[in-house]
């Protein structure tokens, strides 16, 4: 156990504290807009391909028009699939500009559209072919499948896409274990590879021996290879390199509360692995854990060759955490998230946590009141109030540490305990929140927890007139 109650006399500086990392040059809403703009321009370029390649005189009659539409839908589907992969490829610029949680939301948002585009591409293009050839749709579909090159692969690939899409919709996703979902989701890579072949062997924009078609084929293939390279580099090579650099090993697993455990990890240069408030994608190299990576929040600022994650038990894997033996190697990807102390614009801070959101809040509470932040600004003495929301006292985790910080005069802690139904009110509604913290509008607010709580806090803050740039949110939707 490394992070027992901190000493009563708080140290002014902390040895091994994270050195100032590169400040984000492009940051905030403008960076979002830039990423969106780049992706939109990409889509327009693809549509431009299609426009250039479709001779004006060739789109004549119903059959030709429908076929042309089908081609365009297919191109767009492929582009959006690649975009989805790229968003989740852990590309550091995207991470810094948008943050993994937001990227994941975009990824999910595109998912529905991709499924619609894939299905309509298939139907529209077969219909176009059959109209052109004056044949029955079903018969034409069979001809395409049985005689066109790489169509069986494409069919299998499309089936996999639909499966991945269906299991990611909220209805099925909720009924599946994280592990089952994760493995099914990985098959999207197979689907992408399988559907690639029919594009370059049948796609009218890529087949052909003239210069334009050769160039399009080359550019298209290069796009696929670039995305593949990004995935291999940032999702495979970097974690492995990270292991080489940090040699993370499990040190201990400590129960914190009902269903909550802390995993202590030691290794080299752990201060480079993240800041308070961030999370890592963690994979334990031991049977039963090997196959899946999970997002875990740091519950203490990394230092002294140590990391601590605090995790709420949910899913098969997290429950099995308590059986982890010391010495198990750990692969970590990250850090992720923009929920860090240097986002604060003011000296006075309110931290509002619920559920497993307490982990990053605990780390922030310490960093905000300890020595220098990663941006070099002195944090010690920051006026920090922590609101810890829980439905029952047994659910409180890390409470002793908060109490110790409070006794040392570094923070003020308020526990808000009880189900709304029993209390008859929501302790985080605008009226109660305003009563608890009358000076809220002059504070930066960091809030982290289950979606329901986070949304209601955001709503209350808006009503209490807390400016948006003072509100920092991390949402745990898993």
């Amino acid at each position: 156990m490394i992070q027992s109650a901190p000493p009563a006399a708080a140290p002014r500086t902390t040895p091994g504290f994270a050195p100032p990392t590169k400040t984000d040059v492009w940051d905030g809403p403008s960076a979002h807009a830039l990423v969106r703009l780049v992706l939109t321009v990409g889509g327009l370029v693809i549509a431009g391909f299609w426009w250039l390649d479709t001779a004006g005189g060739s789109v004549v009659g119903m059959g030709a028009s429908v076929t042309a539409l089908g081609r365009l839908l297919g191109l767009m589907a492929a582009y959006l699939v690649l975009t989805q992969v790229l968003l989740m490829a852990r590309v550091p610029w995207f991470e810094r500009a948008v943050g993994l949680n937001r990227l994941a939301a975009w990824h999910r948002g595109l998912g529905t559209g991709v499924v619609v585009l894939l299905v309509s591409h298939t139907l529209v293009i077969v219909e176009g072919y059959s109209l052109t050839a004056h044949r029955a749709t079903l018969g034409e579909g069979w001809t395409v499948l049985s005689t066109y090159p790489d169509m069986l692969k494409a069919l299998v690939g499309t089936g996999l896409f639909l499966l991945v899409g269906a299991t990611s919709g909220p209805r099925l996703r909720r009924r599946m274990s994280y592990e089952a979902w994760y493995w099914l989701h990985l098959s999207a890579y197979v689907a992408i590879a399988l559907t690639f072949f029919h594009q370059v062997s049948t796609g009218a924009d890529f087949v052909g021996s003239d210069l334009q078609h050769r160039a399009f084929r080359l550019i298209w293939t290069a796009g696929y290879l670039a995305v593949a390279a990004a995935v291999v580099w940032w999702r495979l090579a970097q974690p492995v390199r990270g292991w080489w650099q940090h040699r993370l090993l499990v040190e201990a697993v400590v129960p914190e509360a009902d269903g909550v455990v802390s995993v202590h990890v030691r290794g080299r240069d752990t201060h480079l692995l993240g800041r308070a408030g961030q999370f890592l994608s963690v994979r334990f190299l031991t049977p039963g854990h090997f196959g899946t990576a999970h997002p875990y929040s740091l519950s203490a600022p990394p230092r002294g060759g140590r990391l601590r994650f605090t995790v709420k038990a949910a899913g098969d894997h997290t429950a099995a955490l308590s059986e982890l033996r010391p010495g198990v190697p750990v692969l970590a990807e990250g850090p992720f998230g923009r929920f860090t102390a240097d986002q604060a614009t003011r000296h006075r801070v309110a931290l509002i946590a619920g559920g497993s959101g307490i982990a990053p809040i605990r780390a922030l509470a310490e960093e905000l009141t300890t020595g220098r932040g990663t941006d070099g600004r002195v944090r010690f003495g920051s006026d920090v109030v922590v609101l810890y929301r829980a439905s029952a006292a047994e659910d409180l985790a890390l409470a002793r540490e908060f109490d110790a910080l409070a006794r040392a005069g570094r923070i003020e802690i308020r526990y808000l305990i009880g189900k709304r139904r029993d209390l008859g009110f929501d302790p985080l509604d605008p009226a109660r929140l305003g009563q608890l913290l009358p000076d809220l509008a002059t504070r930066d607010v960091f809030t982290c927890g289950p979606t329901g709580m986070v949304v209601s806090v955001q709503d209350s803050l808006r009503q209490l007139g807390v400016p948006r740039r003072q509100v920092h949110v991390e949402e745990f939707d898993l």
Partner: protein, 177 residues
Amino acid sequence: MSAQVTERRVRRTRRRAVAFSGLLLGCAALVEAKAATAPATHRIVVGSPSAPVAGAPNSGRTSAGTSKHPRSTNGAGASTAPTASTATRAVTGQPIDIGYGIVQVRLTLQGGRITDVSTLQTPSGGRSGSIASYAVPQLRTEVLAAQSTNIDTVSGASYTSDGYARSVQSALDAAHA
């Protein structure tokens, strides 16, 4: 609390739905715009002399058999009784590279009339093969009816139609030379 979450979810879903409807409509609008750029008539205009496949000066009776396309050399320009004006003769057109494969026809001429068009080469396999298989019979009928290359493009087969017409024209040019 849950009402707020639901509200946000609904808002997001609506935004996504709007975005994707926009994308679909945009695609449809592009196709419309493209179709509007089509010329009013879809007559094929074959320049004379038509451009042959590079390095394949292989047409009619003057066939030298130097085509890089092996099949176009067999029986190229196999003609009979060139002197008799009413005799039946076969004239092979030039192989035309349409980008998805080669189109090459052979005309059967009786006097000045085209009595038959057979295809020696068309793109095979996949979409191009499919297009050829429905376009070629229509093109043949059109050529026989028009007795010239003054024919309409077969919808969805513009490259094939163009290549077909050019090969026919090259055969006609060779026959009249």
